[in-house]
């Protein structure tokens, strides 16, 4: 197919692959830690970083990255050791991050930037420089997850037991949310910060019940995300649709079929 010879399509495919890996790895941790709301909070608060980048005329990606990690650390400090009771604070930070972004863009001089591309992604316009940043972030994510796999596993499966065994679980809570921020930022280009949650949750949900280990779940989630992103990309190109939204709807369709199928099977069994 001649579409693959177009440089922007090649970049889009590369960006999609890199985002799939980060979201598969970190999304699996998010799902098994039941931290979807927390990840949503970080993803949306990242919008404040977009505003900050425009307000200060700084390069977007590093600025969003810094702001997101700051917000992730803030949320980690609020939720450490008592994750389940802090959803109000997460909700507030979620909204404050977004509001800050909008106000900062209001105050920014000059033309009105294309905010939609940060909310819903613009995978077809990813510049080659961003690909390099994404590859670096992927490398960091993979290294950290591999290096501390057994600690992340222990923390996710049984926090209290991990603490008794000497795992610094509070430190790993911070590291985990910082990794979420990293994954969010690099995925903004692909599907946008509104839709990143779908890549975080759908594939891990589908693979959680089938995998026999967290590592298996991560690998399968990466693979499923690759399928979602590439097929969504192809459909959006073929039918001239917004790529980010198409990717999400492909994932959601598979999700829906899976959930309905599962219900149907359990209904058949009585």
């Amino acid at each position: 197919m001649d579409a693959f010879s177009l440089p922007f399509i090649q970049n889009a495919i590369l960006a999609g692959l890199l985002a799939s890996i980060a979201c598969g790895l970190i999304g699996s941790l998010v799902v098994v830690n039941r931290a979807v709301f927390l990840a949503g909070g970080i993803a949306h608060a990242a919008y404040g970083g977009v505003g900050l980048a425009f307000f200060l005329s700084l390069p977007a990606l590093p600025c969003i990255l810094g702001f997101s990690i700051f917000m992730a650390i803030f949320m980690a400090a609020l939720t450490v050791g008592r994750r389940e009771r802090m959803d109000t604070f997460i909700g507030v930070l979620w909204a404050v991050g977004m509001a800050t972004g909008i106000i900062l863009i209001d105050l920014s001089p000059g033309y009105n930037v294309d905010l939609m591309s940060f909310l819903f992604g613009s995978i077809l316009t990813v510049p080659a420089s961003d690909i390099k940043v994404m590859a670096a972030v992927d490398l960091v994510t993979i290294s950290v997850v591999c290096l501390f796999y057994k600690e992340f596993l222990a923390m996710s499966y049984d926090t209290e037991f991990a603490r008794v065994r000497g795992v610094p679980v509070n430190g790993f809570h911070f590291l985990f949310l910082a990794l979420v921020a990293l994954a969010v930022v690099m995925t903004i280009r692909v599907v946008g910060l509104i839709l990143v949650m779908a890549l975080f949750t759908i594939a891990p949900y589908l693979t959680e019940r089938m995998a026999r280990s967290l590592a298996g779940m991560m690998a399968a989630s990466c693979l499923a995300n690759v399928v979602f992103v590439l097929s969504g990309l192809w459909l959006s190109y073929r039918f001239n649709l917004t790529s980010g939204a198409t990717i999400i709807l492909v994932a959601a369709l598979v999700f829906g079929i899976f959930v309905l199928g599962e219900r149907f099977v359990s209904w058949l069994r009585g």
């Binding site: 098994v32 290096l147 501390f148 796999y149 057994k150 600690e151 596993l153 222990a154 996710s156 499966y157 049984d158 209290e160 037991f161 991990a162 603490r163 008794v164 065994r165 000497g166 795992v167 693979t207 959680e208 019940r209 089938m210 995998a211 026999r212 280990s213 967290l214 298996g216 779940m217």
Partner: protein
């Protein structure tokens, strides 16, 4: 037989004199959101003891264990584990937390769960070593879970999960073993088997186990701790009237006496006025 509220004057378990206790609690109190959970706890547990921690639900049994492990900090008083602060020494104990049926869906195998008990042996940033895997297989064999090692944990029965969690607690060669409701969801045969295993382990290590089922006092048990806001430590495997009334909450309520040797059985005590 009077249950003595333990303090410095109480007699220590046989062989305990002049030796640093495995667990020492002095004038400890703990409150949750202002409501007292435990008050004025004094305890000394020496090496080799086999302690049943009994009491009604919500009486503070799990809180007591978490204080001993340093997972909760006392509002007042001092807790020592193996002669030092629990946070420093708790890597030398085995811990089997209360199993909650709500935690379904985590993708992890029996072998991996047992391996998690080896954390602290192999440094951070390393993978589990060959010795870790050998140790995990050894304890899985001990609890009879070797053949199910590659099964996903949530595909197993409650009893099998309990045995896996026991393996995880044992895999670090602990000096003290803490078990929170280890007999929950295990049938009578399984309980007997588990007690036989614990009795054998008790030849070398101290064992504390929490149960809300006061019928569960096996022949291996050496001491009983009764927890219901206050704590009674009794160096015999018996429940006295004082303890029973503490357990039942009111002194005038039906006093129950229970002794178990070998076969589990219950002896109901006198009702007041009979």
């Amino acid at each position: 037989m009077k249950g003595s509220k333990t303090g410095p004057s109480s007699k220590d378990v046989a062989g305990g004199h002049g030796q640093v206790p495995d667990i020492e609690i002095e004038d400890c109190s703990f409150a949750f959101n202002g409501a007292p959970v435990l008050t004025d706890v004094n305890l000394r547990i020496y090496h080799g003891d086999f302690v049943a921690i009994i009491g009604p639900n919500g009486g503070g049994k799990t809180t007591l264990v978490k204080l001993m492990l340093g997972l909760l900090k006392p509002k007042k008083g001092k807790v020592m584990l193996l002669g030092d602060e629990p946070a420093k020494t708790r890597c030398r104990v085995g811990y089997m937390p209360q199993y909650s049926t709500g935690e379904k869906g985590f993708p992890i195998t029996v072998l991996e769960v047992a391996l998690l008990g080896r954390l602290g042996y192999t440094g951070m940033g390393c993978r589990f070593s060959r010795e870790d895997k050998e140790a995990a297989l050894r304890v899985l064999k001990l609890v009879g879970m070797e053949e199910l090692q590659h099964k996903r944990i949530d595909d197993l029965s409650g009893g099998q999960i309990q045995r896996t969690l026991l393996a995880r607690a044992l895999v670090s060669d602990p000096e003290v073993l803490f078990l929170d409701e280890p007999m929950a969801s295990i049938d009578i045969d399984g309980q007997t088997m588990l007690f036989d295993l614990l009795g054998k382990l008790n030849e070398e290590i101290t064992i504390l186990f929490v149960t809300h089922d006061v019928g569960l006092l096996s022949k291996y048990i050496k001491s009983v701790i009764c927890v219901n806001e206050t704590v009674f430590f009794h160096h015999e495997p018996k429940i006295t009237h004082d303890m029973a009334s503490l357990l039942m909450g009111r002194a005038e309520s039906c006093p129950v006496e229970m002794v178990a040797h070998g076969l589990p059985h219950r002896v109901l005590g006198r009702h007041k006025g009979h």
